[in-house]
C-alpha cells in the first residue's frame, strides 16, 4: 500500500533519502521494529527474535516474522503485524511496507487483513467476539504493573520505600535521566505508561494502583507482592516463548520447515 504522504524533500545540507546507505536504512528499519512490542510480553519483537527477514527494496520493505509456535494467539499476532507495518511506514525512505507472518494457523487471514488495512474483527468475522481493544487494555494494565514493579524494586533499594512513594510524576521524569542505566531505563518505560494511564499532572503521585490511587507506605508490601507476581508471570511467559522459538529453529519437525510453507497461509 502506498503511503498517503509523499517523501519529504531533502533540505539543504541534509542527506537525500535515496543516498542513505543500505546498512543505515536497514538499521533504521530495525530501530523502527524495536518500538513494536509483543503486547502480551511487553518486550520488543526484535529482542524476542520474531523477525525472520527484512527485505529492503528501493523504497519498499517486506518484514517476515515467525512466532514461537503455529498456535500462538491470533490476536497478538495481528497486533504485532499491524504495529510493525505502521512503524516501518513512518520511515522517510519507505513508500510501501508489507508484513508477512509465516508458519502460523492464521497467517493467511492476518497477512491479507493487514495488507488491506482491516481490523481484527473484520478479519476474524464470526470467530472473534472479544473486542481487541479490551485485550490490548488488559495487557496494557499488566505491563503498567510490571514496569512499576521493576522501578519500585530499583528505587526502594536506593532511596527507601517512603521516599520512593513520595515521588511525583515530575520526579519520575527526572528519574528517567538518572545516572544509572537500569534506573533510567525502568523509569522511562514506566513513565511512558504512567503518563497515558492517568493523564497525570506533574504533581500527581508517581506510583498508583490501576484505579489511580497512590500506593501508600502501609499497603506497600502487599502491593509489591501482587505486582511482583504480575511481572513474574509475564517474564516466565516470555521465557516460554524463547524456549519454543529456539526449539523451532534448532529441532524443526519434518514437514514444518520453510519449504513447506503454504503461499496463502495455513488457514486457507
Amino acid at each position: 500500500m502506498r503511503k498517503a504522504t509523499s517523501m519529504p524533500a531533502p533540505e539543504g545540507g541534509g542527506t537525500a533519502v535515496d543516498t542513505i546507505p543500505q546498512d543505515d536504512r536497514r538499521a533504521a528499519v530495525v530501530a523502527a521494529l524495536d518500538t513494536v512490542l509483543d503486547p502480551e510480553l511487553d518486550e520488543p519483537v526484535t529482542t524476542m527474535g520474531f523477525i525472520e527477514a527484512i527485505d529492503l527494496g528501493e523504497a519498499s520493505v517486506e518484514i517476515t516474522f515467525r512466532l514461537p509456535t503455529f498456535w500462538c494467539s491470533a490476536n497478538f499476532a495481528f497486533l504485532m503485524a499491524s504495529d510493525m507495518r505502521c512503524a516501518v511506514e513512518q520511515l522517510p525512505f519507505i513508500e510501501t511496507a508489507s508484513v508477512r507472518l509465516v508458519d502460523h494457523f492464521a497467517a493467511g487471514k492476518i497477512n491479507r487483513g493487514v495488507e488491506a488495512g482491516l481490523g481484527f474483527a473484520a478479519i476474524f468475522s464470526g470467530e472473534a467476539e472479544t473486542d481487541l481493544d479490551e485485550i490490548r487494555q488488559a495487557f496494557r494494565e499488566r505491563a503498567f504493573l510490571g514496569r512499576q514493579d521493576r522501578l519500585l524494586e530499583l528505587l526502594a533499594a536506593r532511596i527507601g520505600v517512603d521516599a520512593t512513594l513520595a515521588m511525583t510524576v515530575a520526579d519520575l521524569v527526572a528519574c528517567s535521566r538518572h545516572e544509572e542505566a537500569d534506573v533510567r531505563g525502568a523509569a522511562t518505560r514506566y513513565f511512558a505508561m504512567r503518563r497515558h494511564e492517568g493523564a497525570a499532572s506533574a504533581e500527581a503521585p508517581a506510583f498508583v494502583t490501576l484505579a489511580g490511587v497512590a500506593v501508600a507506605p502501609a499497603g506497600y508490601a502487599a502491593h509489591r507482592r501482587m505486582i511482583r507476581s504480575v511481572r513474574a508471570a509475564a517474564a516466565a511467559n516470555a521465557e516460554l516463548c524463547r524456549i519454543y522459538l529456539a526449539a523451532r529453529r534448532s529441532h524443526p519437525v519434518p514437514g514444518c520447515g520453510p519449504e513447506h510453507r503454504q503461499d496463502g497461509g495455513d488457514d486457507d
Binding site: 502487599a222 501482587m226 526449539a247
Partner: protein, 350 residues
C-alpha cells in the same frame, strides 16, 4: 516412589499424564502435524539434552513406553490421566479416554483414568458422560474451555449450559473437575485466557474440586488471585515444574507465588507427560531449594513435608489414594489451613 539420599520415602502422584497418538496415519490434516510440532518445541526446549526423545517416539510412545517412563524410571506411584479428544485434528482422536484406558488396563492399580465432557454437547453429552462413567468409574474429568466445537470458539464456566454437567458430576460421584487454563490452540477470544470463570463455578459448586491445570499460565497472577479466595480451587502445576531444568529461576518465582497465594496444600504435581518426563523433573524438584529471597516471597522454605504434599499427598487426598505410611508426613496434612494469607489488603487490582 522417590527415596531421598537420607532414606525418606516420597509418594509420587503425577497429576497430568497423556497417552497420545500423533503418528502420521492418525493425523487428519495439517493441524495434526502443527499441533504435535508445538508440543515438540516444549519437549526439546525443556528437556535436558541427554533425556530427549526422537521425534518418532514423541509422536507415539505407547502403553509400554509410558509405563517404563512413569513407573519404572519416573518414580511415579500413581498416574492421573487427562484425556484430550482433538478429533478435528486426529482421525481416532489425540489422547482420548479410550486411548488412555489402555494404560489403565495394563496397570489398574497405578492409573487414575479421568473422563471428559463438553457442555456444548447438551443432553447428548450428558448421556455420553453417563455411559463413559458406567464403563470407567471416573473420579474426575478434564475440560477445555477454549476448545472449538462446531461454530463455537470456546465457552466459559459461567455459561448456563455448564451447571447441568456439574450437577451430573455430583450425582455420579465425580468430584474433581480439571480445567485446562494454559497455552491453548486457536486462541482467539479473551475468554480463552480467562481464569475468572473458575471463581464463579467454584463458588457455585463447593462440593466439587477444581484443578486449574497449568495454573492459568500465562496468567498465573490472575490464577493466584482467584485461587487464594476459593478453598476448592487447586493448582495443577503441569508445565511449571518442566521449567526446572531450562529455566530454574522462573520455576522458582512461579512456585513461590503459588505457595504464597495458595499455600502448600492445594498444589498438584504434574509432569505434563509425554511433553516432559517425571524422572528428571522429580529428581531436580527433590534437589531444589529456594534461594533466600524466594523463600521469603513464598512465605515458606521447601521442606520435605512441603515437597511431599506437592508431589503426591495433595493429589492422594483428591483421589482417595492409599498412601503408604512411610510416605506420610510427620504431622497431618493441613486441611484446615487452606486459606491464603494474601487477601484483604492487597489493592493492586482495586
Amino acid at each position: 516412589m522417590y527415596v531421598t539420599p537420607q532414606g525418606d520415602r516420597v509418594f509420587v502422584v503425577d497429576g497430568h499424564i497423556h497417552l497420545w497418538d500423533a503418528r502420521p496415519q492418525n493425523r487428519r490434516n495439517r493441524y495434526g502435524l502443527t499441533f504435535i510440532e508445538s508440543f515438540w518445541g516444549s519437549h526439546v526446549g525443556m528437556t535436558p539434552p541427554d533425556e530427549r526423545w526422537a521425534f518418532d517416539r514423541f509422536c507415539h510412545y505407547g502403553v509400554e513406553g509410558a509405563a517404563k517412563d512413569l513407573f519404572d524410571d519416573g518414580y511415579v506411584d500413581v498416574a492421573v490421566m487427562l484425556p484430550t479428544d482433538l478429533r478435528e485434528f486426529y482421525v481416532d482422536g489425540f489422547n482420548t479416554t479410550d486411548q488412555c484406558a489402555a494404560l489403565k488396563a495394563a496397570h489398574p492399580d497405578k492409573v487414575v483414568l479421568n473422563g471428559r465432557f463438553d457442555p456444548r454437547d447438551g443432553p447428548r453429552g450428558l448421556e455420553r458422560l453417563e455411559a463413559d462413567h458406567a464403563k470407567y468409574r471416573f473420579k474426575g474429568v478434564k475440560l477445555y474451555t477454549a476448545e472449538w466445537n462446531g461454530a463455537s470458539k470456546g465457552y466459559t464456566l459461567r455459561d448456563d449450559i455448564v451447571a447441568p454437567y456439574m450437577e451430573k458430576c455430583i450425582a455420579l460421584g465425580i468430584k474433581n473437575i480439571h480445567v485446562h487454563k494454559g497455552p491453548t490452540i486457536h486462541p482467539l477470544n479473551l475468554d480463552a485466557f480467562d481464569v475468572r470463570d473458575v471463581d464463579y463455578v467454584a463458588t457455585a459448586f463447593p462440593a466439587l474440586n477444581f484443578v486449574v491445570d497449568h495454573c492459568g499460565m500465562p496468567r498465573i497472577d490472575d490464577f493466584c488471585w482467584i485461587a487464594g479466595q476459593e478453598p476448592n480451587v487447586f493448582g495443577g502445576l503441569a508445565l511449571i515444574p518442566s521449567f526446572i531444568h531450562a529455566r530454574p529461576k522462573y520455576f522458582g518465582e512461579m512456585l513461590s507465588d503459588l505457595l504464597f497465594f495458595l499455600g502448600p496444600d492445594r498444589l498438584i504435581f504434574g509432569s505434563d507427560y509425554g511433553i516432559t518426563s517425571p524422572k528428571w523433573i522429580v529428581e531436580k524438584f527433590m534437589a531444589y531449594e529456594f534461594p533466600d529471597d524466594l523463600a521469603r516471597e513464598a512465605g515458606t522454605v521447601l521442606t520435605l513435608e512441603v515437597k511431599r504434599k506437592i508431589l503426591g499427598l495433595n493429589a492422594a487426598r483428591l483421589y482417595d489414594l492409599a498412601v503408604p505410611p512411610e510416605c506420610a508426613p510427620l504431622r497431618p496434612a493441613g486441611d484446615k489451613e487452606q486459606t491464603s494469607r494474601a487477601q484483604g489488603d492487597v489493592d493492586a487490582r482495586a
